[in-house]
């Protein structure tokens, strides 16, 4: 039987219309509800990580003042902070949250293609979060092995949480990967199979391109983490020695022999480096859409942007060992991985140029989302530049494992995507709730976050150049660290407290505007993409009413010469486009006009 596209057999589709409160809001199969469930869970667990980071910062800033954190607890805090932020907040929020919300709406689908599996994905994710957090309540507490969980240390005495903590961490990761795979297969299939009529791949908004590519990366990269996690679990519980060679433990020979710690690192970073782009690419995509909408201009170099996303995705699989320049692997690998790493900088730099060139000759509305766009471009330039230091093997050697790398990855993978997330929430909250977030609170939140985070991370780079080692509970006496460095550390901690407090403004805004925000209408930003063209706001189950939308143009027909308005929705047929009097513009897709 010939294949018929999903969009062409819309009338055959059965939507699982919710019958009760429980199926509508809890066991929901609606991608929008699942997106909100994912987002709220991720933000909640992110708040736990935020509190953990404050306890670390208090110790580092004021090492002789607070007695509530011991070295063991400090290492548990850095481990859980890192893992939560990277996996359970950023990955879950950008793919499970944004991916779920945006893909069907932006592609013109009624839902994900496998709604039941989508629901399962969320509930398994929630379970993985509970398993992770439960390690705080067991004897010995969570693992303190660092978020990279490097064996043999992570499974040997001398590391906090070596009994139950590491086991719960690994089980939680396995569950997370199961959840991600169920969601990820959905996102990929939906993008490939369920786009509405007229929505060709090269008409998709870059947000969809970014999320789609990131999901493919995730489906290819997470298996490496899965197998290494299971092998490590066996080392910890079953007495295998995949990653554990013969060694001394507490004065006695350990029961292990023959394993390779470096093998784990290769597996971990084969996942871990694409993971950076699993977080970055959705952020790249989303920011491209925000910049176009709020500058009233098409994204500059759309085709180049798509190719940049794809080539970054491919190259990201051959750069992993730049995390391992000083790991003891064969040092000749350094030549290869330094070269691939600096090559990946080129498409990344082109993306930055194109964002700025989109603003160039634009009509920049300095809305709150646009402020976050500008803040993101600034922090990403900064974080990208320091990546050129660390990717270049000879420059990395003095800086590796210092505060410099802490500053770098927080700028590029912490602050940058989080600014995108904030900008996106200010941008799409009106669609999700029907109400605008408060503008003034948004501006205060933006400036506090941008300046505050920069005050935290800029000085770290310089402390790292000086040689301050990361993952030190206390610096103590050294021959090379002056007292001024400790004073700076205290200043950084104060900035961190300030940033954390200023996030309360955001949380308050989220809650308050839900009831009291200005009514938004269906398309408050005058945007072209499909999610703003839904018949209801917020969109109801099934998204599109009786008929699926039909797309006539790419996602970026802003300020087309001859058109009467400065935006033409993707659903608007050429003959319906209002034109300037006397214009020769025929209303066709601007890119090809």
């Amino acid at each position: 039987m010939a294949y018929v596209a999903i969009a062409d057999r819309d009338h055959e589709q059965h939507l699982h219309d919710p019958q009760s409160f429980v199926t509508k809001y809890i066991w929901s199969q609606d991608h929008k509800i699942i997106a909100i469930q994912y987002s709220l869970t991720a933000i909640s667990v992110g708040l736990v990580a935020l509190v953990l980071s404050l306890s670390m910062r208090l110790q580092l800033g004021f090492p002789d003042t607070f007695s509530f954190i011991t070295p063991g607890e400090y290492y548990q805090a850095i481990t859980m902070h890192g893992m939560i932020m990277v996996i359970y907040l950023l990955t879950a929020l950008l793919l499970g949250g944004f991916g779920n919300y945006l893909i069907p709406l932006m592609c013109g689908a009624r839902d994900m293609v496998f709604p039941y599996m989508n629901m399962l994905s969320y509930w398994v994710y929630l379970l993985s979060v509970f398993v992770l957090l439960s390690s705080f309540f067991i004897s010995g507490g969570p693992t303190g092995a660092g978020w990279t969980l490097y064996p043999p240390q992570s499974v040997m005495p001398g590391t906090p949480g070596v009994g139950g903590g590491i086991v719960l961490m690994l089980i939680s990761l396995v569950l997370f990967i199961v959840a991600f795979t169920m969601g990820g297969l959905n996102y990929v299939t939906t993008v490939l199979q369920a786009r509405c009529r007229g929505m060709t791949m090269m008409r998709m908004p870059l947000a969809v391109w970014g999320i789609f590519t990131a999901t493919v990366l995730g489906l290819l990269a997470f298996p490496a983490l899965l197998v290494s996690g299971i092998m490590l679990l066996l080392d910890a519980l079953a007495g295998t020695s995949f990653f554990a060679p013969a060694m001394l433990s507490m004065g006695e020979e350990s029961r292990h022999a023959g394993g390779s710690p470096i093998l784990f690192q290769h597996l971990f970073w084969f996942f871990g480096h694409p993971e950076v782009y699993i977080v970055a690419l959705p952020a790249f995509g989303v920011i491209s859409d925000l910049v176009a909408v709020h500058a009233r201009k098409n994204i500059f170099g759309y085709r180049m942007m798509v190719w940049a996303i794809l080539s970054i995705g491919v190259i990201s699989f051959v750069v992993w060992a730049h995390h391992m320049y000083v790991s003891g692997m064969n040092p000749y690998f350094g030549f290869f991985f330094a070269t691939t790493t600096l090559i990946i900088a080129i498409p990344t730099a082109l993306k930055v140029y194109n964002w700025v060139l989109t603003l160039w000759r634009g009509n920049i509305h300095l809305t709150v989302p646009m402020l976050f766009v500008i803040g993101f471009i600034f922090t990403f330039i900064n974080g990208g530049i320091t990546g050129l230091f660390l990717g270049n093997v000879a420059v990395d050697m003095p800086l590796s494992d210092s505060y410099f790398i802490v500053g770098h990855f927080h700028m590029v993978m912490g602050v940058s995507p989080i600014l995108v997330i904030f900008g996106s929430i200010y941008h799409w909250y009106p669609k999700m709730t029907g109400r605008m977030l408060d503008d003034r609170l948004g501006r205060i939140h933006f400036w506090c976050t941008l300046f505050g985070t920069y005050a935290i991370y800029l000085p770290m780079h310089y402390l790292g150049i000086l040689g301050l080692p990361r993952r030190y509970y206390a610096l103590g006496d050294t021959s090379f660290i002056p007292d001024s460095a400790q004073a700076m550390n205290a200043g950084i901690s104060i900035a961190a407290l300030f940033v954390a407090l200023s996030q309360m403004i955001f949380l308050f805004n989220l809650a308050w505007s839900r009831k009291h925000g200005k009514p938004a209408g269906g398309n408050p930003w005058n945007a072209t993409t499909l999610e703003w063209q839904t018949p209801q706001t917020p969109p109801v189950h099934g998204n599109w009413g009786k008929d699926l939308p039909v797309v006539y143009r790419w996602a970026y027909d802003y300020s087309v010469p001859g058109a009467a308005q400065d935006f033409i929705p993707q659903t608007m047929a050429p003959e319906d486009v209002p034109r300037d009097v006397g214009s020769t513009y025929d209303g066709r897709e601007g890119a090809h006009a």
């Binding site: 082109l350 000086l466 460095a485 970026y556």
Partner: protein, 450 residues
């Protein structure tokens, strides 16, 4: 407009911070100018990019901010512009990568005339081994490791007989001679870092990675572990002293070869007993301790620890601090022991004394102390039994008033202040967990129950 000003403030702030901040590379002490040069080149290239890109961003935001009547330009793409940007970026990347790979080539190419030294890491100490006359490091094995052979050399390997064993966290190196550091871990991952040398590399159990450096400036530098290796990671410190070759030779001569260690006569307990007569005046005939004379109980303490402390007292690593009144009393006593053999004899005798449980004198909340002890037990053991491989002495069944005093001494920098007393330095770092006297008393109260 506010947005543009905000970004401008950040850019100017960044530049001011860069030029005014007091934190920069430590003075280079090895022949790695090429690494520093690559870093500086990278700073210049990326610095220009930072200023130009952000400058353009600021200008664009000012010039094209929304005003009534403004309409955006419509231009989907510009192949020419994108092509030029790709070319310029590629040139910049090559400008950084080429010197970087060039420098890396030097890193992976160990000079033929480089000498070798083995750096041995363990939770949470450093030791070192020189290959001796034959220039070859002997074979080692985990199964060989014990308090008398902590580096685990194989007795039947002829290459190992002349290896010089430096079981101490202090390494000396001669000026101007390239050294290949062969890195070995006894347990988990560690990382050998000397900030002033620039190079660093992980120690991986089951493998022997290496780095090399030629020290060029005399001085004392810190060795740091920079790979998370457990709870004591931050306290895993060593030091390296770069000095003239003659001084280095004298230093190295003081350390025994593996053959000498093996041939060392077993300590003579009877001779140790004779020499213990001096000690017993304060510490008691059975090493039972005397609180009135401030002399702690010795019976039950491990032999290797008594030896190390006697040497520390004798060589001024302990008991030289003027504020350490009781240590100052002990130092001249230890000096009466003529040589290492005498010290070994006394330590052997002390180890033979019958152990007993001394009375508890310290009051504290042992429940609270148990929480603090979680940190201590990583080295000293869950039962306070002491673990030789951690260089951590026994804590249980000691005089509790002595423990309190030592913890206070560590906290106040009275003990562990000597730059060569690296174990003491470690305790100074870790004792920071106990913020006040109450915490010390609580911890000792818990140790009393062990």
């Amino acid at each position: 407009m506010v947005a543009a000003v905000g970004i401008l403030v950040l850019v100017i702030g960044t530049l001011l911070f860069h030029f005014l901040s007091p934190w920069w590379l430590t003075p280079l002490a090895a022949d790695w100018q090429s690494l520093d040069d690559t870093l500086i080149i990278t700073f210049w290239i990326t610095g220009v990019v930072f200023v130009v890109l952000n400058g353009f961003l600021i200008w664009v935001v000012i010039k094209y901010r929304h005003r009534p009547g403004l309409k955006a330009h419509y231009e989907p793409e510009s192949h020419k512009l994108e092509w030029w940007l790709t070319v310029i970026t590629t040139v910049g990347v090559i400008g950084m990568l080429a010197p970087g790979l060039w420098a890396w080539h030097s890193i992976v190419t160990v000079p033929e005339d480089a000498r070798e030294v083995e750096v041995v890491g363990q939770q949470w100490n450093w030791s070192f081994r020189f290959p001796g006359e034959d220039g070859v490091l002997g074979q080692v094995g985990i199964e060989e490791m014990n308090p008398a052979n902590s580096l685990g050399l194989k007795a039947d390997d002829p290459a190992g007989q002349d290896d010089v064993l430096v079981v101490s966290g202090e390494l000396h190196l001669p000026l101007g001679i390239p050294y290949k550091f062969v890195l070995r871990s006894k347990d988990v991952l560690h990382n050998f870092t000397v900030p002033e040398f620039r190079v660093k590399m992980d120690l991986v159990p089951g493998m022997t990675p290496y780095v090399w450096a030629k020290p060029t400036v005399a001085g004392r530098y810190d060795i740091l572990c920079q790979e998370l290796c457990g709870i004591g990671h931050f306290a895993m410190r060593g030091s390296v002293v770069v000095e003239e070759e003659a001084a280095f030779d004298r230093w190295l001569d003081a350390y025994p070869t593996f053959a000498e260690v093996q041939e060392m006569a077993a300590p003579n307990v009877a001779m140790g007993q004779a020499q213990f007569a001096v000690c017993s005046a304060c510490h008691g005939a059975q090493g039972e301790g005397n609180v009135l004379l401030n002399a702690p109980k010795l019976a039950g303490q491990a032999e290797w620890y008594v030896q190390r402390q006697l040497k520390n007292f004798k060589h001024g690593l302990r008991g030289a601090e003027p504020s350490d009144a009781f240590g100052m009393q002990m130092a001249p006593m230890a000096a009466t022991l003529a040589d290492d053999a005498a010290i070994a004899n006394v330590a052997a005798y002390v180890a033979s004394l019958p152990d007993f449980l001394p009375p508890a004198t310290v009051q504290g909340d042992s429940k609270r102390g148990q929480d603090f002890y979680v940190t201590c037990q990583a080295c000293h053991g869950a039962a306070g039994q002491g673990i030789w491989s951690m260089s951590a002495p026994r804590l249980s069944r000691l005089n509790d008033w002595y423990l309190v005093r030592q913890l206070q001494n560590y906290k106040q920098g009275i003990r562990g202040a000597h730059p060569s007393d690296l174990h003491g330095k470690q305790m100074r770092l870790v004792s920071g967990v106990l913020r006040d006297d109450q915490s010390i008393n609580d911890t000792v109260a818990y140790i009393n129950q062990l």
